[in-house]
């Protein structure tokens, strides 16, 4: 199964080079002048200030910023869970008015439903399919994320990494065209995190979803994405957008990688020295 997925993805990349798509297509997502403020104890606290962002079809974009800077808020606005104070988000030219099953949000592993088994979680969004189709789809994604043998297990019997893979599988199973991931690997140990990154890239290359990925980990952002959107601390503004022009699989000791990575470290105000 994995073999065939990999070959089709390669065929796809050869036929439609990523660079070409970006210039010719309209943006998949456009955020226009997003302002967001929360009221706390009667005073208004600005969280997002005049955020403008475009994401193209099939692109992998990282939102990078310090913890608590508001990048999660931005992702929640994009996903339609929060409505901005000013501005709007357009996806395929349509204003976002609420969450939509075409765009699935992956929370940290907390988003899996504890009362459902692995199968139940993956099948959660597939209620419109026939029983047979649903079973096939579930089996496919269980294999894809390597949870065979755990079909009947409940989330509390799984490790953090398995829960995370389960949540990604649940999202992919409904075949969305966008994925929003909110620091999805933050709670994992460093080995599992590396494996999960590779898995995510593999899935992205195979299925060509548009991905917006929130992280505070600079290395993670540079390893994964086509573009890194560097955000400032509260209220969050877009500081800079860094194009990562290295082909996958990326050599993380290449001079270009280190140059890009250190550029971002400097941007954030940390020289990369220990």
């Amino acid at each position: 199964m994995e073999q065939t997925m990999a070959t089709t993805s390669m065929a796809k990349t050869v036929m439609v080079p990523a660079q070409a798509t970006k210039q010719t297509l309209k943006p998949k997502l456009r955020a226009e002048g997003i302002d967001m403020a929360f009221t706390r104890d009667g005073t208004s606290v600005p969280v997002l200030e005049n955020v403008k962002l475009e994401v193209h079809e099939g692109e992998f974009v990282c939102l990078l910023g310090p913890s608590g800077c508001g990048k999660s808020t931005l992702l929640n606005v994009i996903a339609g869970f929060l409505s901005p104070t000013h501005g709007q988000v357009l996806i395929d030219g349509e204003a976002v008015r609420g969450p939509d099953p075409r765009r699935i949000f992956v929370f940290q592993e907390r988003g899996v439903f504890p009362w459902l088994t692995v199968e139940g979680n993956i099948g959660f969004g597939l209620f419109k399919l026939s029983k047979k189709e649903r079973a096939e789809r579930i089996a496919h994604y269980i294999t894809l994320v390597g949870l065979q043998g755990f079909e009947k297990a409940y989330p509390q019997e799984l490790s953090g990494g398995m829960k995370q893979r389960l949540e990604v599988a649940r999202a992919l199973a409904v075949n969305p065209d966008m994925l929003f991931l909110d620091e999805p690997f933050g709670a994992l140990d460093s080995i599992t995190r590396l494996i999960m990154r590779r898995e995510l890239l593999r899935i992205w290359e195979a299925e060509r979803k548009t991905i917006i990925f929130v992280t505070h980990d600079i290395e993670e952002a540079v390893q994964l994405s086509d573009r890194v959107v560097v955000m400032s601390a509260r209220p969050a503004k877009i500081q800079r957008v860094v194009e990562i022009d290295i082909a996958h699989p990326r050599d993380i000791s290449s001079s270009r990688y280190l140059e890009l990575r250190d550029g971002i470290f400097e941007q954030i105000g940390l020289a990369h020295k220990v």
Partner: protein, 252 residues
């Protein structure tokens, strides 16, 4: 050694029974029965067919009052918890009504329903209704926002969201609430039967005392109330072991 450890609790109970027996023998005025007299009392009740009749009568009242309350209170509490404004409106009223002991309603329930089963069932209903409403309200308020967002993300309609996310998310807490409330309902049925009806285990206790100071039957009634209360509690607890619910009880 292992057997020894197992026997200790039994030994403790036996010691208590012996102490009770000796104390009953040596009391100044022989009013309170010893354990043997109580056992004979239970046997006598069983022979006269009263034991089963009274147990069934008490359970019948508890079942009706408790089940009706659960069927009405849980959806109501979920709805109130879900809509902020309804919680604002009703919570203060609920908080005032809740501490009114259901037993204080006895005169009114007799006025409305007469002396009989309905009055007692109404009291059980009152004893269960508000605690269950509050449990459901709090359970909804305690659902992590992430869970609700994840559910909405998959394009569920409002009824689907209630049935597939809201309800399973609150189920573990609801079951704890149901168990505690059933305990209170059992307490209230005893009180209600002492005052408002002519059958049941509560009535047995009051009747045995008033009609001839049959304290062996009074204590027999107490024992039966304890045993059935225990069985109800065990029954409710076994629900907490259901696999799809167990995630909600990380504590013990």
């Amino acid at each position: 050694m292992k057997l020894n450890v197992r026997l200790r609790p039994i030994g403790f109970v036996a010691a208590l029974l012996v102490m009770w027996h000796v104390a009953a023998k040596h009391q100044a005025t022989p009013i309170l029965p010893g354990p043997l007299a109580v056992a004979e009392g239970i046997a006598e009740l069983a022979q006269r067919g009263l034991l089963l009749k009274y147990i069934v009568a008490s359970l019948f009242r508890v079942t009706w009052g408790f089940a009706t309350a659960a069927i009405l209170a849980i959806p109501l509490g979920l709805a109130i918890g879900w809509y902020r404004r309804s919680e604002m409106a009703l919570n203060p009223l609920i908080q005032i009504f809740r501490p009114i002991s259901p037993l204080a309603w006895i005169p009114i329930s007799i006025l409305w329903f007469g002396v009989g089963d309905l009055a007692a069932i109404f009291l059980i209903f009152l004893a269960s209704f508000l605690p269950l409403t509050v449990t459901a309200m709090n359970a909804v308020a305690g659902i992590p926002p992430v869970t609700v967002r994840a559910g909405r993300n998959f394009g569920l309609s409002q009824p689907q969201l209630v049935y597939r996310v809201l309800y399973p998310a609150v189920a573990p807490q609801l079951i704890i609430g149901l168990r505690i409330t059933l305990g209170i309902a059992w307490l209230v049925v005893v009180a209600a039967e002492m005052i408002a009806v002519n059958s049941g285990l509560g009535f047995l206790i009051v009747d045995a005392r008033n009609a001839g100071n049959r304290y062996d039957l009074v204590v027999a009634g107490m024992v039966m109330i304890g045993v059935i209360g225990l069985l109800l509690d065990i029954g409710m607890r076994s629900m907490e072991n259901v696999k799809s619910l167990r995630w909600g009880y990380s504590e013990d």
